[in-house]
């Protein structure tokens, strides 16, 4: 009975840890996406004149100094731009070396293009 209890405890702890980390990752990605988003288009005229009470929920930057928000935003954008320049993993559509993107047409065609090249002995 104690072994069963121990097993259940470990299962709960393990799953809790995994789901906890997934939730943390989800939160992190949501934060990154928020900073990486294209600037929103100007609201239509009627929306712009809507009463303030109907506006969206309070800004998430509430309580943080505007200078700090600006610095974080600039740093995040700079980080994203640097990542793009070097094709960092988060910025890629597919992994280098992956053949998933290549059609059979291209794969076979490239093989034929390289028939003049022969590996092996020098």
């Amino acid at each position: 009975m104690s072994e069963l209890q121990w097993g259940l405890t470990m299962t709960a702890a393990g799953m809790g840890l995994v789901f906890g980390l997934l939730a943390l990752l989800w939160g992190l990605l949501t934060l990154v996406l928020r900073f990486d988003r294209e600037p929103p288009e100007a609201p239509p005229a009627e929306a712009a004149t809507a009463p303030a009470a109907d506006a969206a929920a309070p800004a998430p930057t509430e309580g943080i100094a505007p200078e700090l928000v600006a610095a974080i935003t600039v740093a995040t954008l700079a980080h994203v731009a640097a990542g793009r320049r070097v094709a960092a993993p988060l910025m890629r559509s597919y992994w280098p070396g992956s053949q998933l993107f290549a059609s059979r047409w291209v794969a076979i065609g490239r093989g034929r293009q390289n028939t003049t090249w022969r590996g092996g002995d020098r």
């Binding site: 793009r84 993993p89 992994w95 280098p96 070396g97 053949q99 034929r112």
Partner: protein
């Protein structure tokens, strides 16, 4: 093992510790005092954290002449291995200047050759960090023979895997040929490359030069064209290598990585419509057009200072890597000359080898006239561009922005040279030659017999311009596929390349072609 007291692990750890120290703490401090990093520090900056796995850490030479028996250092002055750059597998070697000045030895050669073989067999890029005083004189002809082993592997890997050389110190004598055989040479800081040094030059010719004025980054970026990119510091140089690698595939069977698109493919920059000046003889900067058409801040210009009348480099379009070739009207009116021909031809062949589509922007009044050019073999050099374009099987798109005259028009990715799509802006002027010389040839008698020759010539020039100085005649006969508004260029290129992405074209089987070298 250590628990039994045999000390095997302790011995291994001690040898590894010695290897990490290279030529010793004193030499490391001297290296730092010169403002330079050690081989291992450079690799730590280049590679992802914890990704480096070293080979040949403990290899040492077996020579004893000239006191070499007292100078045995684990690794023998070079660090080789595999690692990752932004998650991509790469093979690397870094010469360690703290060990006998990084001198090139037989063991160095064996270690480099091993990593070259593994890189080629694995289909991954090879990056070399060069910092060596030259061949190890004490080893005699063996160190010279060792160069040959490296060169042959450079050539075998050429066009199969990307090879990048980062020069971070001296690179002299025979050592220069290994970087010269690689695809890209990046020079960092006060590095220099030359075949014969200042002392030899002074003894032979009497010329007095310093190492930097003879073979510094400024010389090889601006005059010789040996280097492709340069950086003020070692850290910046390592950053450039990472950025350059982002545009290249792992090998010649794969595509370069695509960055998640971040610039709308349908974006149309209105400023493009006003880019070409009203006065056809006024220059404009082709790099402005490139910046407005391709993904924001994605253009990496290669050899920016060498043959500035041509612009080549990598950019991204909808996240895909693209090779950009262009004339530069802001410099020498964009006329082609010997250096520009070499620059363009080499870049086209790199793009073709690594499956990178080529977009060519044409604003070229022709080849530069003059005895210097003709005596220098501009015919042979210009033929390289034609050869490279005709041979290339990657998607090729050309765009005439303004002047496209005579042989230069034909050479610059003309429709008949296996170019897939040819666009032109309404400002395009596609003709055999300029209006003035054309009228002098075609209407010499008419002009001479006219009552007012000057007025007659002006009239005929205006007629010629109206007839030929537009893209529509070329479009009539199919030399131009479509005349487009400048602002439409980006979406048109994105759509065209989307179709051409699966283009497959094969050249006839042959041992190799005969490029007019």
């Amino acid at each position: 093992m250590d628990e039994k007291g045999d000390g095997h692990l302790a011995a291994l750890r001690e040898m590894r510790s010695r290897a990490v120290l290279g030529g010793g703490q004193k030499r490391i401090e001297q290296q730092h005092a010169r403002g330079k990093l050690t081989a291992r520090e450079r690799l730590a900056l280049l590679l992802d954290d914890g990704s480096f796995q070293e080979f040949g850490t403990l290899a040492t030479h077996q020579f004893s002449e000239f006191g070499l028996d007292k100078q045995r250092y684990p690794g023998d002055g070079i660090v080789t291995g595999f690692g990752k750059i932004n998650g991509r597998r790469v093979a690397v070697f870094a010469q360690d200047f703290t060990v006998l000045g990084g001198s090139f030895s037989e063991v160095q050669s064996q270690k480099i050759c091993r990593i070259q073989d593994l890189a080629l067999e694995s289909g991954i890029p090879l990056i070399g960090l060069n910092d060596s005083g030259g061949a190890r004189i004490q080893e005699g002809v063996r160190s010279l023979a060792a160069y040959g082993e490296v060169f042959v592997r450079n050539v075998m890997a050429s066009g199969v895997i990307p090879q990048i050389s980062l020069i971070m110190g001296p690179c002299a004598g025979g050592a220069v040929y290994s970087p010269a055989l690689t695809d890209f040479v990046v020079m960092a800081g006060d590095s220099y490359m030359f075949l014969t040094g200042p002392d030899v030059i002074k003894a032979v010719t009497g010329e007095q030069v310093t190492a930097l004025t003879l073979g510094g980054a400024d010389v090889h970026m601006g005059r010789s064209g040996v280097a492709h990119l340069a950086a003020d510091s070692e850290i910046e140089g390592i950053g450039i290598v990472k950025r350059l690698l982002a545009y290249l595939p792992q090998n010649n069977n794969e595509d370069p990585p695509q960055v998640t698109p971040y610039d709308p493919p349908t974006r149309m920059d209105e400023a493009l419509n006003a880019l070409i000046p009203q006065d056809e003889n006024r220059p404009y900067d082709m790099r402005d057009a490139i910046a407005m058409i391709f993904d924001r801040d994605s253009f990496l210009e290669v050899q920016p200072a060498f043959a500035a009348n041509a612009v080549v480099g990598f950019a991204r379009l909808d996240g895909y890597s693209i090779g950009v070739v262009a004339n530069q009207p802001a410099y020498m009116s964009g006329a082609l000359n010997i250096d520009a021909s070499d620059k363009i031809a080499r870049f086209i062949r790199i793009c073709d080898a690594f499956n990178i589509p080529i977009v060519t922007f044409i604003d070229c009044p022709g080849f530069l006239p003059g005895t210097d050019q003709e005596y220098g073999g501009v015919i042979r050099h210009g033929a390289k561009i034609i050869y490279a374009y005709c041979e290339a099987t990657v998607p090729k798109i050309s765009l005439v922005t303004r002047k496209a005259m005579g042989g230069a028009y034909v050479a610059m990715s003309s429709k008949q040279m296996r170019t897939d799509l040819a666009f032109a802006w309404p400002t395009g002027q596609i003709a055999v030659m300029g209006a003035e010389p054309a009228v002098r040839v075609l209407y010499r008698d008419d002009v001479q017999s006219a009552a007012d020759p000057a007025a007659k010539e002006r009239e005929l020039i205006a007629y010629y311009r109206e007839r030929f100085f537009n893209p529509y005649r070329a479009a009539d006969v199919g030399q131009i596929d479509e005349v487009i508004e400048p602002r439409e260029t980006r979406p048109r290129l994105v759509r065209a390349l989307e179709v051409l992405r699966t283009k497959v074209q094969q050249n006839p089987p042959k041992k190799h072609g005969l490029v007019p070298l």
